[in-house]
C-alpha cells in the first residue's frame, strides 16, 4: 500500500480520532490519503492554530493530540505549539512534510531543517530516511509522546518517501532501548515520605500539572484527606484538587493567594507532587520556603533536585506513588492528627485576613475579576475553560474555581498569547458534550483569531469571552509598577470591532458593558448555538493582585 495510507493505518491503530492541520506541497500525498481514511481532519487556518488545537484536545481528553503541517513555513508555524507542549508536558505528535530526498540539503523550495529547528524543544523526533521506517516511527512517536513525562514528538517525512509502495504491518513492539521511564516509585522512599508527613507539624502539599497528566486527582484528594494536609496547586495543577474545599489554600506562586504562599514560606515539610519549582512559584530562590524539608515526587528524575534539593526524592508516576503513599500513611501507628491544629489556626487566620479581594465598581462598570466570577456563575462552574496569556489568565485562575481536572487549559510554561481559542477548539472537538469557554485577552485573541473560521465551518460551538481592557494589560501593569508608569506600546485602542469581526467569521458577536445584567447576558451567550465571540468591556487599568514582585521572596507579596 502507499506509505501515506500506512500513515493513516498507523493513526487508527494508535486510536487517533482527529487530526488538526493544513496541507501543502510536501504533504500533498498524505492529504490525498485523508480523503478515504475515515479519520476526522479539522482544517485550521494557521498551523499554530492546529498545534494549539492538538494541545487543547490532549489536555481536555488525556489522549495524544495530533497536528499535521507541510514543510518549510508550515513546519516553522508549528514551532510555538511544539515548544508550548514541551514546557507544559502535553502529549502531542506533530507530523511534518519534508521536501523530496533528492532536494534535501539544497535549499529546495520550502525546505527547512525541521528536525534541527525543533530539536531543542521536543521530547524526541524522527527523520524518516526510508519509507519502511514510517510505521515504526509513528508507533514509537505515540508511545514516547504519551508515556513517562508526556511531551511533543515530531515525525518529519520527505514527500517522495511518503509516496512509496510498502507492505504495511501493524507495529506492536518497541525498539527504544534507551527509553524506560521509571513509573513505580521506590517503596522505601515512599515509606519515608509517609513517616515524614506524619511527623510534620506544618506540612503543605504542593501539586502541579503532573498530577493531572497522571490522572491522579482522585488519589491526591484521598491522600490529602487521609490527614488534614493543606493543599495548594500550581497554575497547571488547578483542578487536581477540588476547589473550593476546606483544605484548599488556593493557587500558589506569583499571583497565587497570600495564604498559599505564606504557608509555603512557613512550612516545615513540603510535599511536591508533579510540579517543578519554577521561578514563578519560588520567587527569590534563596529565600524560598526557608524552614522546609522537601519530598519531591515526579516522573522525570531530572526535575528532582534541579532547583531545590529534595530530602526525599521519589521518581515515579504520580498515581502509582500516591496510591502507595496512601497505603503507607494509613498503616502508620501513633499519628497525632492534632499536631497540625496550630498550623491550621495560622492558615485560617491568613485566609480570613487575606482573601482574594478587589474593589468592585459602584456603577455598571465591569471589573475584570467580576467578569470571571460572573462567568463562573453563568456556566455553573462546570465548563472547560481555556485562556490566553496575561492578566485575564491570572484572574481566571484566581476566580474560576476548578473542581475537576482537565477543566482548566492554559499555556503555563511558555505563556503563549493566542493559545486560548485554538485550544478551546481542540477541547471542544475532544469533548463535544461539554461547554467549552475561552477567557481571552483582547491582545492575545488577535494572535489566532483566524480559527473562528474553523469553528464556524466545522460547527465547533466554543464560547469566547474577551476580557477587553484595550491594553496588553499584563505588560501595562509591569510598566506601571516597575517602570514608573512609562507606558510603551501597550495601548491597543478599541480595535478591532470584535462584534463585526465575529459576524464576518460566521460566528455570533456580542458586546457586554453592563455589570448588572452580565450573568444573564453570559447565560444567553452560552445558550446560543454555534461559536460565539463576546466582547466584554472591562476596567481598563486594573492590576492583578496579589503579586510576588519578580525576584522577591513570597512573604513580601504586594497588593
Amino acid at each position: 500500500m502507499r506509505a501515506v495510507d500506512a500513515i493513516m493505518e498507523c493513526l487508527k491503530a494508535e486510536g487517533v480520532e482527529v487530526v488538526f492541520g493544513l496541507p501543502g506541497g510536501a504533504n500533498l500525498p498524505t492529504y490525498d490519503a485523508f480523503v478515504d481514511a475515515g479519520i476526522r481532519h479539522v482544517l485550521v487556518r494557521h498551523e499554530a492554530g492546529g498545534g494549539h488545537a492538538a494541545e487543547g484536545y490532549a489536555k481536555a481528553t488525556g489522549r495524544v493530540g495530533v497536528a499535521f503541517a507541510t514543510s518549510g513555513p508550515g513546519a516553522t508555524n508549528i514551532v510555538t505549539p511544539i515548544v508550548d507542549a514541551m514546557m507544559d508536558s502535553v502529549p502531542t505528535v506533530f507530523i511534518t512534510g519534508q521536501v523530496r530526498t533528492d532536494l534535501l540539503g539544497t535549499d529546495g523550495f520550502q525546505e527547512t531543517d525541521t528536525l534541527g529547528i525543533t530539536m531543542p524543544v521536543v521530547k524526541h523526533s524522527f527523520q524518516i530516511r526510508s519509507p519502511l521506517e514510517i510505521p515504526r516511527a509513528i508507533h514509537e512517536a505515540f508511545h514516547i509522546a504519551r508515556s513517562g513525562r508526556p511531551g511533543p514528538v515530531v515525525v518529519d517525512i520527505p514527500q517522495d518517501l511518503s509516496r512509496a509502495d510498502i507492505t504495511y504491518e501493524p507495529v506492536t513492539d518497541l525498539n527504544l532501548p534507551g527509553y524506560q521511564p521509571t513509573t513505580e516509585g521506590n517503596t522505601k522512599q515512599i515509606r519515608q515520605a509517609a513517616k515524614a508527613m506524619a511527623s510534620a507539624r506544618r506540612p503543605v502539599i504542593y501539586a502541579g500539572g503532573g498530577v493531572i497528566n497522571a490522572n491522579a486527582s482522585q488519589e491526591l484528594s484521598e491522600f490529602a484527606t487521609s490527614d488534614r494536609f493543606p493543599v495548594t496547586c500550581t497554575l497547571m495543577g488547578l483542578g487536581a484538587f477540588p476547589a473550593p474545599h476546606p483544605q484548599w489554600l488556593g493557587m500558589l506562586g506569583m499571583h497565587g493567594t497570600r495564604t498559599a504562599n505564606y504557608a509555603m514560606d512557613e512550612a516545615d515539610l513540603i510535599c511536591c507532587i508533579g510540579a517543578r519549582f519554577d521561578d514563578r512559584i519560588t520567587g527569590k530562590l534563596s529565600e524560598f520556603a526557608p524552614h522546609a524539608k522537601f519530598i519531591h515526587i515526579d516522573i522525570d528524575p531530572a526535575e528532582i533536585s534541579k532547583n531545590i534539593p529534595a530530602h526525599i526524592p521519589i521518581v515515579g508516576d504520580c498515581r502509582n506513588v500516591l496510591r502507595k503513599l496512601i497505603k503507607e500513611y494509613r498503616a502508620l501507628e501513633g499519628v497525632d492528627t492534632s499536631r497540625t491544629d496550630e498550623w491550621w489556626q495560622k492558615i485560617r487566620a491568613w485566609q480570613e485576613k487575606h482573601p482574594l479581594r478587589y474593589e468592585d465598581s459602584t456603577d455598571a462598570e465591569i471589573k475584570p475579576q467580576y467578569m470571571v466570577q460572573a462567568l463562573y456563575e453563568a456556566s455553573g462552574g462546570d465548563a472547560i475553560v481555556t485562556s490566553d496569556v496575561g492578566q485575564h489568565q491570572m484572574w481566571a485562575a484566581q476566580h474560576y474555581h476548578f473542581a475537576k481536572p482537565r477543566r482548566w487549559i492554559n499555556s503555563g510554561g511558555l505563556g503563549t498569547m493566542g493559545f486560548g481559542l485554538p485550544a478551546a477548539l481542540g477541547a471542544q472537538v475532544g469533548c463535544p458534550d461539554q461547554t467549552v469557554v475561552c477567557i481571552a485577552g483582547d491582545g492575545s485573541i488577535q494572535m489566532n483569531i483566524q480559527e473562528l473560521a474553523t469553528c464556524s465551518q466545522d460547527k465547533i460551538p466554543v464560547k469566547v469571552f474577551i476580557m477587553n481592557n484595550g491594553y496588553l494589560g499584563m505588560v501595562r501593569q509591569w510598566q506601571e509598577l516597575f517602570w514608573d508608569k512609562r507606558y510603551s506600546h501597550v495601548d491597543m485602542g478599541s480595535y478591532p470591532d470584535f462584534v463585526k469581526l465575529a459576524e464576518a467569521y460566521g460566528a455570533t458577536g456580542m458586546r457586554l458593558t453592563d455589570k448588572t445584567t452580565l450573568v444573564d447576558d453570559m447565560k444567553t451567550a452560552l445558550a446560543t448555538d454555534g461559536p460565539v465571540l463576546v466582547d466584554v468591556r472591562v476596567t481598563r487599568e486594573e492590576n492583578t493582585y496579589p503579586m510576588i514582585a519578580p525576584g522577591q521572596p513570597a512573604r513580601d507579596m504586594v497588593g
Binding site: 530539536m119 530516511r129 534507551g178 515509606r191 515524614a196 528532582i304 533536585s305 501513633g334
Partner: protein, 185 residues
Amino acid sequence: MGEPGTKELLSLDELEAAGNARSGRKHILSILVENKAGVLTRIAGLFARRGYNIDTLTVGPTEDEQYSRITLTFDGAMHSVDQVTKQLHKLINVLKIRDLEPADTVARELALFKVAVEGAQRAEVMQISEIFRGKVVDVTRRSVIVEITGTTDKIAAFERMVRPFGLIEMMRTGEIAISRGRGET
C-alpha cells in the same frame, strides 16, 4: 529513628538533602548511544542550551555496530554531575551513562605535536619524546612531529617540556576511557 523498615515516625531534622551538589573535580562520562543520525547534535545541543561546558568530547564506534560510545569530560566545579547525567538520560537515544571513577578507569588521549627544531635541538626533542614513550612520526630540516599517547596529565607535561622549543601546532583527540576489570564500562 525513622528507618524505612520501622514503624517509628521520622524526625524531619534527620533528613538530608540529596542531589545537585558540585563535586569540584573533573568528570569523565562514558555514554553509550544508539548509532543513529543526529545523536551527537542532540547531546551537543543539550550541553549548549543548558549552559554546560564540555571540555573534551570523542565519538566512535563500539564492538556492536548498533551503538556508539561518546566520552565526554567536563568540570564538576561548574556543573552538578547529577543534573548533567539526568538531562542526558532524557535523550531517547542515550542508553547508558557511566560517571567513571578515576581510580577504576583507564583513560587515554592521543596528541600530535609539531615542534620547531634547529640543529642540536632535534636530538633533544627526540630524547624527551623517548622518555614520554612518544613516537617521532615526521621530520623535516626545521621541525619534527611527535605522537604521544597517555593520560591528559602526561600530555600536558610533554607540552610543557617542548613548548620552549617552539610549539608550532598541537592537536589532541580528547580522552577515551574504559573501566578496569572484567565488567563492561
